[in-house]
């Protein structure tokens, strides 16, 4: 390289740089234009190997093997740990995934952003297996056009009964009422999630957990700020183990995780999980096909496969979350089916988290402010 070449390289780099800026500026605005093209697939049709993007420990590996054997395709499964980590990857486009498993509120976001395609219901006859309250009318996908329910569960409180007593009041007051909760200071965990934790406080106050009232949210923020003083940790991952190991007494968390944990213990009868009487979150995870899925037909076939009665039951027997699949009930382990932790008796006060649009920022800010 000659001396004179150096400025040349620099000029080229400058051009490249400017070009990037322009391209980056133009790149983002085509979000919704990829109108979800419905895959024209027949029942059981495959068009290549499947790339599944799922929560970890959520899919019985035997079901994957069975699908591979039945349809002669191979399945690659990758894992994510939160809706929020999965969403930007899928929304950016070109992710290469076919099927994803977003939760309720995330489905509505993905629909609005054009990240998932309309399902071709003709290719998924097993949709008829769904229980009627899951088949349509869900707030995040009212006409069930884009998603098919996978599993569901609740968010509530897990307690160590040997400390709090069998007749403990089943209320969010165990966390938010100073008189009830102060005795357990330093032995309580709350979910490290603004919507769940602010939602619990809103429920305790008698409001909707999807409230978009600034006054109501401010009340909830004050409650959470006060609770922060007696909380051991904000933890979304190990709250169940902390209760099980005796480090904490009261944990805010998901139904299936607590049940799974309690069954591991020598004295499961000393522990229980409940949705407080004020009500709590019901979450529903769903299967959806990515808008630019490389293999939409295999994706539809896979969804149909999981909605099969026996396969749906296998899923619940494996991960201990409730099934939206009515036809599957006869194959589900009767003990699981009768367990009030998996299938709560009173479901009238449960609410799904909905995306609140611009108000999400208020939730996130209120949560950070409540922590200090």
């Amino acid at each position: 390289m000659k001396e004179g070449d150096i400025p040349m390289t620099r000029k080229l780099l400058g051009l490249l740089f400017a070009f990037t800026l322009v391209a980056a500026a133009c790149g983002g605005s085509d979000d919704a234009e990829e109108a979800a093209a419905t895959g024209d697939c027949a029942v059981g049709q495959t068009d290549g190997d499947l790339a599944l993007y799922n929560w970890s420990e959520y899919m019985d590996p035997d079901l994957i093997t069975a699908f591979e054997a039945e349809f002669g395709v191979s399945v690659t499964e990758d894992f994510y740990d939160s809706n929020e980590a999965m969403q930007p990857i899928v929304a950016a486009g070109g992710s290469g995934y076919d099927v994803i498993v977003p939760s309720d509120y995330m489905v509505s976001i993905l629909i609005e952003e054009g990240s998932i395609m309309k399902l071709n219901k003709d290719a998924i006859p097993n949709l008829s297996n769904l229980a009627s309250d899951f088949a349509s009318g869900l707030p995040y996908d009212p006409d069930a056009e884009y998603s098919a329910p996978y599993q569901w569960g609740t968010t509530g409180i897990g307690v160590n009964l040997s400390v709090v007593g069998e007749d403990v009041p089943r209320t969010w007051g165990l966390i938010f009422d100073a008189e009830l909760a102060d005795q357990y200071a330093g032995q309580i965990t709350l979910l490290n999630d603004p919507r769940e934790t602010m939602g619990a406080a809103l429920k305790y106050l008698g409001y909707s957990l999807n409230s978009t009232s600034e006054e109501e949210l401010a009340e909830a923020q004050a409650l959470v700020a006060e609770a922060t003083e007696r909380v051991a940790a904000y933890d979304s991952d190990q709250y169940d183990e902390l209760v099980g190991s005796g480090q904490t007494v009261i944990g805010h968390g998901y139904s299936g995780n607590f049940l799974f944990q309690f069954l591991e213990l020598d004295n499961p009868e000393d522990y229980t999980y409940f949705v407080p009487e004020e009500g709590g979150t019901r979450w529903i995870d769903n299967m959806a096909v990515v808008a630019d899925a490389p293999h939409p037909c295999t994706a539809h076939t896979f969804i149909n496969f999981l909605l099969d009665a026996e396969n749906g039951a296998a899923l619940t027997n494996w991960n201990l979350y409730a099934s939206p699949n009515a036809a599957a009930e006869e194959f589900i382990d009767p003990e699981v089916l009768a367990d009030p932790i998996v299938y709560p008796v009173d479901q009238s006060k449960l609410e799904e988290i909905a995306d609140t649009g611009d108000f999400e920022i208020n939730y996130s800010d209120a949560f950070n402010e409540a922590k200090g």
Binding site: Y80, D240, Q261
Partner: protein, 276 residues
């Protein structure tokens, strides 16, 4: 050299640091043999987790991908980072100040920000490649490696520069006069002198690559889940001693490598003594 009570004091401090470094490792090893799913609760001795490691293809492939990514990104970053360090410490050239600043950026940037920017960058640039050349590229192991090199170059160069800075240059200059070519002077004098810095930088790069979660998650595509990303996903259901077992296997493998390289060194030493 240091002797007497100073040496004993230093030795004691070193021992304590080692205790600190290995306490969690000891716990991790012990609980890889525990029958209880929860790390921290002893459930009786079992080899179940090692058996599961042998049967669980997800974990095996995640480990294999992690090692590939770590080794390739460490090698490339070590070469590029060392060259960069030499250039910055030994030469004056145009654009040096800008380069100096650019080199610190990957250390400074919050990793979630780097993750987001790599996601946007790869989506955009792979799209661009597709429209310009017609090649359909996808995010995968290659994009993960590319992003790991991007942060590792900086870490390597900082460590190597710490070695080079203020190092006596007379030896190198003498060598330059003595040897026919610059390459020989570098190969026989400079390289051995900076080797501890290079090794330190490479060790750091390897560790960073083996630990990264967020950047990897955002830069990867189907089939390129690394071990840390896999484990991060597991915490929802509880990280079982399976991951301890995987860690113990990695520990054992690295200890074995160290021992083997020591033996190799020993057996080479007498030979070297006679030629010199």
């Amino acid at each position: 050299m240091i002797r007497g009570w100073t040496a004993r004091l230093l030795g004691g401090a070193t021992g304590l640091v080692y205790l600190f470094l290995y306490a969690p490792v000891l716990l991790l090893v012990v609980f890889s043999f525990s029958a209880d799913r929860n790390v921290g609760r002893w459930g009786g001795f079992t080899l179940e987790w090692y058996r599961e490691f042998g049967a669980n293809e997800n974990v095996q492939s995640a480990l294999a991908i992690s090692l590939q990514v770590a080794i390739v990104s460490t090698l490339v970053a070590t070469v590029l980072g060392t060259l960069a360090a030499l250039a910055l410490e030994r030469f004056r050239f145009r654009g040096k100040k800008v380069f100096d600043a650019l080199l610190y950026l990957p250390i400074i940037i919050p990793d979630v920000t780097m993750a987001v920017m790599m996601l946007l960058f790869f989506t955009w640039s792979l799209d661009l490649v597709d429209t310009v050349t017609g090649f359909q590229l996808r995010k995968g192991i290659a994009t993960v490696v590319v992003s790991h090199i991007a942060f590792n170059i900086s870490f390597v160069s900082v460590v190597v520069r710490a070695r080079l800075e203020g190092m006596d240059q007379t030896l190198e200059q003498a060598a330059a006069d003595l040897y026919a070519s610059r390459w020989q002077a570098f190969r026989h004098v400079t390289l051995p002198l900076i080797l501890p810095g290079i090794v330190g930088g490479a060790l750091l790069a390897l560790t960073l690559s083996l630990d990264d979660v967020v950047i990897t998650q955002f830069a990867s595509g189907p089939g390129s889940t690394t071990l840390p990303v896999y484990v991060f996903g597991l915490i929802r259901r509880g990280v079982t001693p399976l991951i301890n077992a995987v860690s113990v296997v990695m520990l054992a493998a690295s200890v074995l490598l160290v021992v083997l390289s020591l033996i190799a060194q020993r057996s080479r030493e007498p030979g070297r003594a006679t030629t010199e």
